[in-house]
Symmetry: C2
Subunit: 229 residues, 2 copies
């Protein structure tokens, strides 16, 4: 009977991780990556919490859902914790992304370095605009930029099949977003990041996350207005 189980097996937490926790893991991951780059070995929950803007108690509870990766009286090992989070979030595998809509925003997203940060790779660009189709667009930040051809919207399904894209980014005008979303889903995409200012209705089993610039400004304005009083 083994009294000590290897950690790689022990930590098979299939715990239900709360949505609130999941939404904070990326921030922890990023902070830990920066600390690792800076050669820092260990960090306490208090410090990491300060770096990410949460309370230390919340941070500890979040991390405890992944497993018991800290050492009491000492703290967390930066590199080890970073790896555990990346594994939990599926960042040790490669995620291929298709961007639909190569307007100003779509191009900015394609360029965006942080986008391609470990694990995510833009593998296809699609647009409906005839003047854009066939043109080349630079993808990725400095270091390793790739030029990608803009494909026709009508080829969306084929492009997804060929590139094995699993994440879809909708950066089209609001009018076309729902149609594009429907086609992404039909082509097998089950995770969509939506930048178009509309609610996308999708069948169960498909996740949509929305990034809405105007909404964010409006929320800020709401609070700003109240401050003036």
């Amino acid at each position: 009977m083994p009294s000590k189980v290897p950690s790689s097996i022990k930590d098979g937490h299939t715990h239900k991780i709360s949505e609130a926790t999941v939404s904070r893991l990326p921030a922890y991951y990023r902070a830990l990556s920066q600390l690792a780059d800076a050669q820092q070995i260990r960090i306490s929950s208090e410090e990491l919490a300060a770096l990410t803007g949460v309370s230390s108690a919340m941070l500890r509870k979040d991390l405890s859902h992944l497993g018991s990766y800290g050492t009491r009286g000492v703290g967390y090992e930066v590199e080890f914790l970073r790896y555990q989070i990346s594994r939990e979030m599926g960042l040790n595998q490669d995620w291929s992304v298709v961007i639909v809509g190569v307007g100003n925003l779509g191009r900015a997203l394609a360029h965006y370095g942080g986008f391609g940060s470990r694990g995510f790779r833009v593998v296809a660009l699609v647009d409906a605009d005839q003047t854009l189709i066939g043109t080349k667009v630079k993808c990725g930040a400095e270091g390793k930029t790739v030029e990608l051809l803009v494909h026709a919207l009508s080829d969306l399904e084929d492009v997804i099949k060929e590139t094995n894209a699993r994440l879809g980014v909708v950066a089209t005008p609001a009018e076309s977003a729902q149609v594009v979303s429907d086609r992404l889903v039909k082509a097998g995409i089950r995770s969509i990041l939506n930048f178009a200012p509309v609610h996308l209705s999708v069948p169960e089993g498909v996740d949509v996350r929305k990034v809405d610039l105007a909404s964010e400004l409006q929320i800020l304005a709401f609070h700003e207005q109240r401050k003036a009083i």
Copy 2:
């Protein structure tokens, strides 16, 4: 003693509106605007909820925090409700926005039509890059584009003072974000929209909202990974 008070006074709800509600108001507002454009007069909570992806009960409770603007057995008047939300959120006044960082993302934001959607106007662009300073960048969507000069980061305080900007957008690399944020705050900005992938620490009384593309993708990846099992 007046038995009926004018609605402009009656609805002086200084109720504490919950953060969750505030975050949904922009979606309601947008849907209502579209309905108004389509000349629709009335809408039920059920329909509006479907358009915005929330439950009808939640929608009604959200709206009830603003006042009693519906009619039982009938629904809500589109234009009236839209106006009430816009008033509550401070969208009937003009909000001037300064964008710091005119890289790919900053330019896309400046161009973004929805950004300038009712109430918000980009009034200044600032960057540290010498090769960008002095150049002109088109702002706003088709219809009424304005060319804005890119100002030097060293002039940030003056630019804010001259343009009376009240909202600040940080679209710089992560390294410079905190410094820029500090200067925005010192210049009087108390509402910041942060696109840089770092947590900004600001004094009490200052609001920061963060838009993080990589985080959103990571959250999607987390769920996508779980689906595969």
